[in-house]
């Protein structure tokens, strides 16, 4: 569906179901340089099980217009505006990688609006490798290739996509190259690198929180994810073996099972 936030058109996948204001809202926030499509193996399930599932394209990404936002703080405010724009008062947030920084910051800023927080491959800070950052800011496609290499665990490098016939790494590469790299990945990487408030923001979070981490995640290692989770009261942690940073694709079923249990328990769907 399309709607406007701050004058710019926003695209969000509704998981194949019409948006229904009566249903509780879950917002999925993608990682650096990516799009709503990374969530396809999570969003459709919730959309067909009593929720409004909204996988957004951040401004300037995927099918959304406007320019990419330059800071995690701006993105956090933007997510809050999305909730308003679709006519809801509250939402459950799910973030991946950079999306974790955004949703942590958003939850700390708008505690009354956010009912649950789910973090996948999250950390309190994501400092960027300077060379990778420079490649992305200079529009070099090698930045995407490096990101796809590091983002997939050893097992993920062999493939084995849960959807028959799809090949992880090339699909991710196409998503990250679908818009101009320096305007998406470059801006996002800089925003991640600049963001320093993650640990302080985490301390303010009071809603039920889940962290899904992966043993082979090179971009946001388990110890960093645990450090963030330890600062959030009552945070649950689930660790997936043999999996890299792209857990939402590499181990989509496992992620969905854990996410489903957590969200339906803490933020029940509209019963049919």
């Amino acid at each position: 569906m399309k709607f406007k936030v701050n004058g710019n058109e926003v695209f969000a996948s509704t998981g194949g179901r019409p948006f229904d204001k009566k249903k509780p809202l879950i917002i999925f926030v993608h990682g650096s340089g990516l799009t709503h499509m990374t969530w396809v193996l999570q969003t459709r399930y919730f959309a067909f099980h009593g929720y409004n599932s909204l996988a957004v394209d951040l401004p300037g990404h995927g099918l959304s217009s406007g320019k990419s936002l330059k800071s995690i703080e701006e993105m956090a405010d933007w997510v809050s505006s999305v909730i308003d724009a679709v006519g809801h008062k509250e939402a459950s947030l799910v973030g991946h990688s950079q999306g974790c920084l955004v949703t942590v910051e958003c939850t700390s800023r708008y505690p009354g609006k956010i009912k649950t927080l789910s973090l996948m491959g999250g950390a309190g800070a994501i400092p960027m490798n300077p060379e990778l950052l420079s490649l992305a800011e200079n529009n070099d496609p090698k930045a995407v290739d490096l990101m796809m290499d590091w983002a997939h665990g050893p097992a993920g490098h062999f493939g084995g996509h849960p959807v028959p016939g799809l090949y992880h790494i090339n699909t991710g590469t196409m998503l990250a190259k679908s818009r101009t790299i320096q305007n998406t990945l470059g801006v996002d990487f800089r925003a991640c690198d600049n963001y320093k408030n993650g640990f302080e923001a985490a301390k303010k979070i009071k809603c039920p929180t889940l962290s899904i981490l992966a043993t082979d995640d090179k971009m946001c290692p388990v110890k960093e994810g645990k450090k963030l989770a330890s600062l959030i009261d009552g945070s649950q942690v689930d660790i997936i073996d043999n999996c890299g940073h792209m857990m939402l694709l590499e181990e989509a079923d496992r992620v969905l099972t854990v996410l489903k249990k957590f969200i339906t328990t803490n933020y029940p769907p509209l019963s049919s």
Binding site: G16, M37, R44, F48, D145, G160, P164, G165, T171, S178
Partner: protein
């Protein structure tokens, strides 16, 4: 110690590694090192909710082997990885891959621009069978790049061709024709059977969908029929209103928009969800496994095929019984420059040559060679020969044969991996017989 900073390089697996490993994780398959053959029709659901989620594309997995199968899935991912594609869908033959591609792309009333130099069966599909479904085609000679542009109409939904045409070996200018297609907002579909991804990756030159008959070089052993379509993931289906079945809510899946939901894999998802459901040209797991065995040695075999082919080009070019030779490696081939650009690892192992003495000499040659097999296939590890005008392209009338660049003296040669001297010696037997065509053809 040098303090020179090490350059960052992606360590994703390369071609030879992918051809052995892509698409398969032993630890998810009881530790089996070889890909298991899942000889089964169907798969258990955990519960009703799980079943509904699978049918509704809410989660990945297998339901019924007409739609997908774990062994076939490994093959699909492996070929997608080798081509640099986002997704692939394997079918029971190359022809069914072509048919499924067209039926996923087009509706009744649509039009395609098609290269005139194609495998004879493909020509007949476009010329005679697709019109029965309300899909019409305009044929353009492969070297007539501007002709492709001129043939595009308002209802044209794609351009289709073989990079190196069967059997005349004329090249289409893939990068330029891709630009023409993209300017018109339509995809370029390339049958890359002759090349395999070892010789050419069409997505790097603008193609949007790649088709293979896996029966040929990809398998190599000539034991199993199989086909595949591969998606490049770069085509924007939402740029115009030409592809409503990709972009608008689809009734068959609760209003799903394939382009919105699946983006770079939308075409494959639709081809599987709709095409395999409704037409059902599924690949058997045994044949998928057989093809996987061949794929493991693809680069090694293609090097040998190309090496032997280049030797045969030299041999035939200097032979007194040969009127002409067509192969992209031949110095007088009109497309050498383009071939060097698009086929840097080798020009393939298909040779067309004209035999002096015309049709009778050709028949005599084919009837007398002993090592080369006379059959309707290409890309076997063994050397194969055929006389297209009386074999693979015999269902084409005179005018169509001429437009496709086929002559009655043409022999199509698929060079195998035998010792090159043995192939040449065998050809000498054929040529000797061809010089006495009347005697031999009356046998």
């Amino acid at each position: 110690m040098s303090d020179k900073k090490k350059e960052l390089k992606p360590n994703t697996y390369k071609f030879d590694t992918l051809s052995l490993h892509a698409g398969y994780q032993p630890h998810k398959n009881a530790g089996a090192r070889q890909v298991p053959i899942y000889q089964t029709t169907s798969y258990l659901f955990d519960d009703v909710d799980h079943a509904a989620a699978l049918f509704n594309l809410e989660r990945g997995g297998h339901i019924y082997s007409r739609i997908s199968n774990p062994t076939v899935g490994v093959l699909e991912e492996r070929v997608a990885s080798l081509e640099g594609g986002t997704a692939a869908l394997a079918t029971s033959s190359g022809m069914s891959a072509i048919f499924l591609t067209i039926m996923t792309l087009c509706e009744a009333g649509d039009h395609l621009v098609v290269s005139s130099q194609l495998y004879g069966g493909t020509v007949n599909l476009f010329r005679l069978t697709l019109p029965k479904f309300g899909i019409t085609c305009t044929f353009v000679k492969p070297r007539d790049t501007e002709g492709f542009k001129k043939a595009i109409k308002k209802n044209t939904k794609g351009i289709y061709g073989e990079l190196v045409g069967n059997p005349g070996n004329e090249l289409m200018n893939m990068p330029e024709i891709a630009n023409i297609a993209h300017e018109a907002g339509i995809p370029l579909i390339v049958d890359s059977t002759y090349q395999t991804p070892y010789l050419c990756k069409p997505f790097e030159h603008g193609a949007d969908i790649v088709i293979h008959s896996l029966t040929k070089w990809m398998a190599g052993h000539g034991s199993s029929m199989a086909g595949i379509l591969v998606e490049g993931g770069n085509f924007d289906w939402m740029q115009n209103d030409k592809f409503p079945t990709m972009t608008k809510p689809y009734e068959g899946y609760h209003g799903l928009s394939f382009a919105e939901e699946f983006g770079p894999t939308a075409f494959t998802m639709k081809a599987r969800a709709e095409g395999m459901r409704d037409f059902g040209p599924c690949l058997s797991p045994q044949n998928a496994w057989n093809v996987l065995q061949g794929l493991e040695t693809l680069s090694v075999r293609m090097k040998k095929h190309c090496e032997n082919a280049e030797e045969m080009v030299k041999y035939l070019s200097n032979h007194e019984s040969v009127a002409w030779v067509s192969h992209p490696s031949a110095p007088n081939h009109p497309d050498t420059k383009l071939a060097n650009k698009l086929l840097p690892n080798g020009k393939g192992s298909m040779i067309a040559f004209g035999i002096k003495g015309g049709k009778d000499a050709g028949v005599a040659f084919i009837n007398n060679v002993k090592l080369a097999s006379h059959l309707a296939n290409v890309g076997d590890t063994r050397t194969l020969v055929i006389h297209p005008a009386s074999g693979t392209h015999s269902q084409m009338d005179e005018a169509t044969l001429k437009f496709a660049g086929l002559s009655h003296d043409m022999i199509r040669l698929s060079v195998g991996m035998e010792d090159i001297d043995d192939i040449k010696n065998d050809f000498e037997i054929g040529f000797r017989a061809a010089r006495k065509p009347r005697l031999v053809s009356n046998q």
